[in-house]
Amino acid sequence: MILTGILLAVVGLGLVGWFVGRGRARLLYDGRGSMHSMPTYHGWHLALWIVVPALVVWTAWSAIQPGLVEGALMADPVAATLPADAMHRSAILAEAHMLANDPGASVFNAQSQALAAPLRAIVTRFSLIGALLVAIVAFAGGAYGFTRIRARFEARTQVERAVMGVLLLASLIAILTTFGIVASLVFEAGLFFKDVSPIAFLTGTHWSPGNARGADIAENFGAVPLFWGTIYIGAIIAMLVAIPLGLMSAVYLTQYASRSMRKWLKPILEILAGIPTVVYGYFAALTVAPLVRDFAASIGMQNPSTESALAAGLVMGVMIIPFVSSMADDALAAVPRAMSDGSLALGATRSETIKKVLLPAALPGIVAGVMLAISRAIGETMIVVMAAGAAANLSANPFASMTTVTFQIVQLLTGDQEFNSPKTLSAFALGLILFIVTLVLNIIALRVVKRFREAYE
């Protein structure tokens, strides 16, 4: 409570500092060119000197205070009565913290009542120390900042530097998060590969993690059927739908559509990309899958399943169309008009020009778009969860039920799970493989796009 209060106070102080700094700087102003920086910059400079060091101290103190509190509590005579069992002990301490914050809270261990009062006193003591420290730093920073307000002082430069620092921090957070995700994936996958060898995992054809017990667990973690299902649905069936349709719509939109037609059609096509994947999922499961099943029955298949690779792949393909078409659209638009003019001036028809000049010239961009689309498709989850099924079949029959990496991850991690069994850990191994594959596809695609851009600029 006290620490939250001091935080607000620091921000308030910063605000005051802004006005003080600006006001003070204004007094120095005596005509154009008399100051290096405008008064507002002096205001910002002072405010930053108040807020930033205080925030750093505040953050550091918030991090170390729990440890200090714990240490002080253990030194208290009441702590001697705590049980030695670590679990019991931490339960009591947790309850004591609850009571210290809210004396009316209901608790299970009577002992925590005795601890609550000294704990509250200790917390208050340390919070006050922290608040005092923060306040001292804020005032010290403010005083230093205030003394620097001079006509020739380069406050503007300093503030610009601070702005850059903030921007750098913002971008670092995103990057660090990515590293954190990768690290946790690698760590958990590493635990899994202790039990199951990577070779068995990557080459085995039998997947039934539910049966994995005892010494032969590795035999139940053959992920090939999952990789096959992922590729079959995401990279084959979906692309058979998305590439021709996306490409043709891009050609129509860039080459044939009138401006007003394009104005209407392009946003509508882009709406496809905005539909939540779960909506595609039930469209696949409730509308497309039964049609596919009936079709399978009509061509003489025995007992076709409702869940099929084809249903999931078709709908996924439709979902991916906007990706392919907008990348192809960009690639075609980037081909200089002189190219098509040159071809038309030789007496080529419009479709000859598109087929023989525009598409070959735009090919790298189109390929990149397709790769991004594939990486999107194989990472897609909801459609396959709802329409592709759970059976790890290794089959080329599009009417068969099939499963994908993403589907299995969902299944392995939903519900009650123990986080140390190979069954659960295998989800991280699958995630890691998926991550690596999509990463590689993305890198290749971006490289291709870059080289293509250079070719025309």
């Binding site: 009138s258 401006r259 200089p336 002189a338 190219m339 098509s340 003019d341 040159g342 071809s343 038309l344 001036a345 030789l346 007496g347 080529a348 028809t349 000859e352 023989k356 000049v357 070959p360 010239a361 070719a455």
Partner: protein, 253 residues
């Protein structure tokens, strides 16, 4: 006196509401080079593009009046713009070779129009076109290299060869040297001079020296009007119109 190759009568060109060419009538003869000069935005390129219906590819462009190629109205419903452009070829301001090999750049047009039966005949067409464009000796050993790998001047001659390969009757050139250095320009000008015996050539240029060097007839455009049209020597030495005189003496433009 033979019949003019191209005859334009009362041609107006509009871009949407804007009138870019106002009532232009001109006769263009075979066997000579006709130059269109005039300040930027005067409509000379627009008029050039209406001679092979390249304006059709620009949304909102409209041409009225009459343009006759060998007495045939090129804007008639019966005229196929694709067939027309095979007869009236075009070379653009910036060299625009296709991202294909040198050979394929030349073979593109003949292939579309089915001019060659078999590889041997195509080889012959490619060699002839490149020879006429004065490029054969420079590229004969590397026909499979990318057309875009050539220098700017070579690229432009490649584009001229590409236009020649479909055996057009007229070649339109839209500032063909504006992106080239003086040496490459001189090379193209020589080429134009050689080619004029076989084709009717129309060249749009910003450079009055170039018009004076390569053309036999000059048309001066200003603000969408054809101000003056005559023998090049007459236009440059004794212009009939004050506006022409002001332009060629560098008073404006």
């Amino acid at each position: 006196m033979t019949e003019p190759k191209l005859i334009a009568r009362n041609v107006d060109v509009y871009y949407g509401e804007k009138k870019a060419i106002d009532n232009v009538s001109i006769d263009i003869d075979n066997g000579i080079v006709t130059a269109f000069i005039g300040p930027s935005g005067c409509g000379k390129s627009t008029f050039l593009r209406s001679l092979n219906r390249m304006n059709d590819t620009i949304a909102g462009a409209k041409v009225t009046g009459e343009i006759l190629l060998d007495g045939e109205d090129i804007y008639a419903a019966s005229m196929d713009p694709v067939a027309l452009r095979a007869r009236v070829g075009m070379v653009f301001q910036k060299p625009n070779p296709f991202p294909k090999s040198i050979y394929e750049n030349i073979a593109y047009g003949p292939r579309i129009h089915g001019l060659a039966q078999g590889k041997a005949q195509m080889d012959e067409i490619v060699e002839r076109a490149l020879t006429k464009a004065g490029l054969w000796d420079e590229v004969k050993d590397r026909l499979s290299d990318a057309g875009t790998a050539l220098s700017g001047g070579q690229q432009q001659r490649l584009c001229i060869a590409r236009a020649i390969a479909v055996s057009p009757e007229v070649i339109l050139m839209d500032e063909p040297c504006s992106a080239l250095d003086p040496i490459a320009t001189a090379r193209i000008e020589e080429l134009i001079d050689e080619l004029k015996n076989s084709y009717a050539i129309v060249i749009v240029t910003h450079s009055m020296q170039q018009a004076a060097r390569v053309s036999q007839r000059t048309a001066f455009f200003h603000l969408g009007n054809l101000v003056e049209y005559g023998e090049t020597s007459q236009v440059f030495t004794t212009p009939r119109e004050d506006r022409t005189k002001d332009y060629i003496t560098g008073r404006y433009g």
